[in-house]
């Protein structure tokens, strides 16, 4: 990872959650660049513009106004140019069935938003390092499922 930055994006309508997310990455001292989006529409506009650099790791909140995380996930998986991105669902609690459903629809990671900042840092660092292993060790991304 040393010389390269990881490009990360988060789409979340909650301002506090966006703040803690960026703070966590700052403190983790991973070489990362974090892009933020307030809702699904804003996110998809960015992703669909082929001039923009795509994040390698996208965190999606499920409950967003205008366009939900699940709708974004569907659109992303249906677009060839975007289908290589690793998708982490970043959400408050959901039923077992909902969680499994996001995996079936193509999500790689499911994170239940932790309440405490230290936990958040730990969880995000685990996602990034696991993602890094898939990226650098030639592992099959189709088999990348992680629940935290």
């Amino acid at each position: 990872m040393n010389s390269d930055y990881i490009n990360i994006a988060l789409a979340d309508d909650d301002e506090d959650d966006r703040f803690f997310f960026t703070e966590a990455f700052d403190e983790l001292k991973l070489k990362s660049k974090v892009l933020l989006f307030k809702d699904g529409i804003e996110l998809m506009e960015y992703l669909n513009d082929s001039d923009n650099m795509l994040p390698s790791l996208l965190f999606l909140d499920l409950n967003m106004p205008k366009k939900s995380g699940l709708e974004c996930l569907k659109d992303i998986k249906a677009t060839k140019r975007l289908s290589d991105m690793v998708i982490a669902i970043y959400s408050t609690s959901a039923s077992e069935e909902d969680i499994e459903n996001t995996f079936v629809k193509g999500a790689n990671v499911y994170i239940k938003k932790p309440n405490d900042f230290e936990k958040l840092k730990k969880v995000l660092s685990e996602v990034v390092t696991t993602n890094w292993q898939y990226h650098t060790s030639g592992l099959n991304k189709d088999n990348f499922l992680l629940r935290l």
């Binding site: 292993q133 592992l139 099959n140 629940r147």
Partner: protein, 182 residues
């Protein structure tokens, strides 16, 4: 019509590399897995074209000496897990022998560069191989535990859950459902 494929990773990699080298008319000698020696001098331009071509096949030429050692460690581990090597000694001893280096040195270097430990990397690879065996060969977890020399199914099952956050059967179910959709 659906076909399930099984890959011999070492063979695939070597075959692709050989084809590419021949296509670029580079004479070579293979010295080890992931290591070749070019017999004639190649121009920088020629090498650049070659690098670009193999890059698109997921092959990269490593230049940083630390990265070379890391890559060798990874190659030995992947070979050990995916080719089901029957190793009689401890993994640390095996790695030290294969790389002809002190294990502590290897272990520290690995953690420094990759953000994970050799131990974790081995577990990750074993779990990845388990995933492949579960989904493409449809082996049972008991068979896999035996194949990968786990002391018990429970141990493998627990390690799977700890590493991925989901159980082996949930994993199987998700991948099967995904296949149905596509």
């Amino acid at each position: 019509m659906k076909l399930l494929l099984k890959f011999d990773f070492t063979k695939v990699c070597n075959a692709v590399l050989k084809q590419k080298l021949q296509a670029h008319q580079l004479k070579f000698r293979q010295t080890a897995f992931g290591e070749i020696e070019l017999i004639d001098k190649a121009s920088e331009e020629q090498l650049k074209v070659f690098y670009d071509d193999i890059n698109s096949f997921g092959i990269e030429v490593i230049e940083d000496p630390k990265k070379i050692v890391i890559q060798k460690i990874k190659d030995v581990i992947v070979d050990m897990v995916f080719n089901e090597r029957d190793i009689q000694v401890k993994t640390s001893v095996y790695l030290a022998e294969q790389l002809e280096e002190n294990y502590n040195y290897l272990s520290n270097l690995f953690s420094e560069v990759t953000y994970t430990s050799i131990e974790n990397f081995i577990i990750l690879q074993k779990i990845e191989y388990t995933k492949i065996l579960l989904t493409s060969e449809e082996l049972s977890l008991t068979e896999i535990a035996f194949k990968l020399s786990y002391s018990s199914v429970a141990h493998l099952s627990k390690q799977f859950k700890n590493t991925t956050g989901i159980t082996p059967s949930a994993f199987q179910r998700i991948i099967a459902k995904r296949k149905q959709i596509n």
